[in-house]
C-alpha cells in the first residue's frame, strides 16, 4: 500500500517534457485541420507554401494569420498589418501575465522559449495541467512539451496545406469545428462552481460585442470586462466571512 503511494508520488514528480508532449495530443487534433486550411488559403491568396510555413513558424497565432493573408492580398501596408496583429493578439498579454505565477524562478532563456509557444489553446491547456504539478522545474518542462507539440503541428500542417493548395484547387470551409470541439473539451474539464458564472458572462459579452463592434476587438474587450467583473464580484464576497480562495489559484 505504502509502496503504491510512493510509486504514485514518483509518477507525479517525474512529469516532464514527454508528459507535456502527450498532453498536447488534443491540440494536435484540433490544430491539424485548421493549419491545413491556413496553408491552402495562404497559397490561394498568393503566398508560396514556404512563405506560409515561415509565417506559421515565426508568428504562430492562428486568427491573426488568417486575417493577415487576406489583408496582404488586398494590399495593406506593413503598418496596418502590425496594428491589426496588435489588436487581435493583445489578449496574449493577459495570458502571459496569467502564467507568470507558475514560474517564479524562471530564467531568461526559459522566458524566451515559453513565450513563443503561448496561444489560446496552449494557454488554456497549460493552466489546466500545470496547476497539478508541484515543482516549477517540471512545470517548465511540461509547458515546453505542450507548446512544442502544438507548434510543430501548426508549422508542419501549414506546409502540408500549402502543398495541397498548390496542386489541388480545393475550396475549404467548416475548419472551425475541430477547434470548437477542443474548446468544449477544455471547458468541460476546467469549469467549476467557482468560475462558471464568469464563463457565462464572458460568453454573453462576446456575443453582444461581436454583434456591436466590427473586427476582432470584441475578443479583448469581453475578456477584460468579464474577468474584471468576476474579480470585482469575488472581491465583494471576500469581505464576507466564510470565503475561501480556490485551491487551483496559482
Amino acid at each position: 500500500m505504502l509502496r503504491e503511494k510512493e510509486k504514485q508520488k514518483r509518477v507525479t514528480e517525474d512529469k516532464g517534457f514527454l508528459y507535456g508532449l502527450s498532453q498536447s495530443f488534443s491540440i494536435v487534433i484540433g490544430y491539424t485541420p485548421v493549419a491545413i486550411t491556413f496553408g491552402i488559403l495562404a497559397t490561394q491568396f498568393g503566398l508560396t507554401f514556404w512563405e506560409a510555413g515561415l509565417m506559421s513558424f515565426f508568428v504562430f497565432a492562428g486568427a491573426s494569420q488568417f486575417i493577415a493573408i487576406e489583408m496582404i492580398h488586398q494590399g495593406a501596408t506593413p503598418l496596418m498589418i502590425g496594428v491589426t496583429t496588435l489588436i487581435v493578439n493583445i489578449r496574449h498579454l493577459l495570458m502571459s501575465l496569467s502564467v507568470v505565477p507558475f514560474f517564479p524562478e524562471r530564467t531568461l532563456p526559459w522566458s524566451l522559449g515559453l513565450a513563443q509557444g503561448l496561444t489560446d489553446e496552449t494557454f488554456v491547456l497549460n493552466t489546466n495541467v500545470l496547476k497539478d504539478i508541484d515543482r516549477e522545474e517540471n512545470r517548465r518542462r511540461v509547458m515546453l512539451g505542450i507548446n512544442i507539440g502544438a507548434f510543430t503541428t501548426w508549422v508542419t500542417f501549414t506546409i502540408i496545406g500549402g502543398l495541397i493548395g498548390k496542386w489541388l484547387p480545393v475550396q475549404f470551409s467548416g475548419f472551425q469545428f475541430a477547434l470548437l470541439a477542443l474548446f468544449i473539451i477544455l471547458t468541460a474539464s476546467s469549469l467549476s462552481k467557482k468560475n462558471y458564472m464568469t464563463y457565462l458572462l464572458a460568453a454573453l459579452l462576446a456575443v453582444a460585442f461581436k454583434l456591436l463592434i466590427p473586427g476582432k476587438l470584441y475578443l479583448i474587450m469581453s475578456v477584460v470586462l468579464a474577468a474584471g467583473i468576476g474579480a470585482w464580484w469575488r472581491g465583494r464576497k471576500a469581505h464576507q466571512p466564510g470565503f475561501d480562495v480556490p485551491k487551483s489559484m496559482p
Partner: protein, 103 residues
C-alpha cells in the same frame, strides 16, 4: 500586387512575440494584489468562453442546432469522452436535430 512578404512576417512576428514575452520578462515580483490575482485567475475560463461563443453559434445551419451540438458535446466531454468521440457525436446531434426540426 503585394509587397515584400518577409517584411509582413517580420512585423507580425515582432508584435506577437513581444506581447507574449513582456510579462514573462518584466513581472519579477510576486503579484500580491488580491483583485489582480482574481482577475488573472479568471482569464483562462473567460478566454475559453470567448473563443467558443460567437463562433459556435454560426458553425451550423442555425442557432438552435448549434446549441444542441454544444449541449451534446459539453455533456459528453463532462462525462470524459475522447475528442474523437465528442466531435463525431456532436456532429451527429447537429445533423439529426436539423433533420428532425426542418426536415
Amino acid at each position: 500586387m503585394r509587397g515584400n512578404i518577409y517584411l509582413y512576417i517580420l512585423v507580425m512576428a515582432g508584435v506577437t512575440y513581444l506581447i507574449r514575452l513582456i510579462p514573462l520578462i518584466f513581472m519579477r515580483k510576486e503579484i500580491r494584489n488580491v483583485y489582480l490575482k482574481s482577475f488573472l485567475y479568471y482569464v483562462p475560463y473567460v478566454t475559453l468562453a470567448v473563443m467558443t461563443f460567437p463562433a459556435i453559434l454560426s458553425a451550423t445551419a442555425n442557432l438552435w442546432s448549434a446549441l444542441a451540438g454544444f449541449g451534446t458535446a459539453l455533456i459528453l466531454a463532462y462525462r470524459g469522452g475522447s475528442l474523437f468521440k465528442v466531435s463525431i457525436i456532436a456532429c451527429l446531434a447537429v445533423y439529426i436535430f436539423e433533420l428532425m426540426v426542418w426536415g
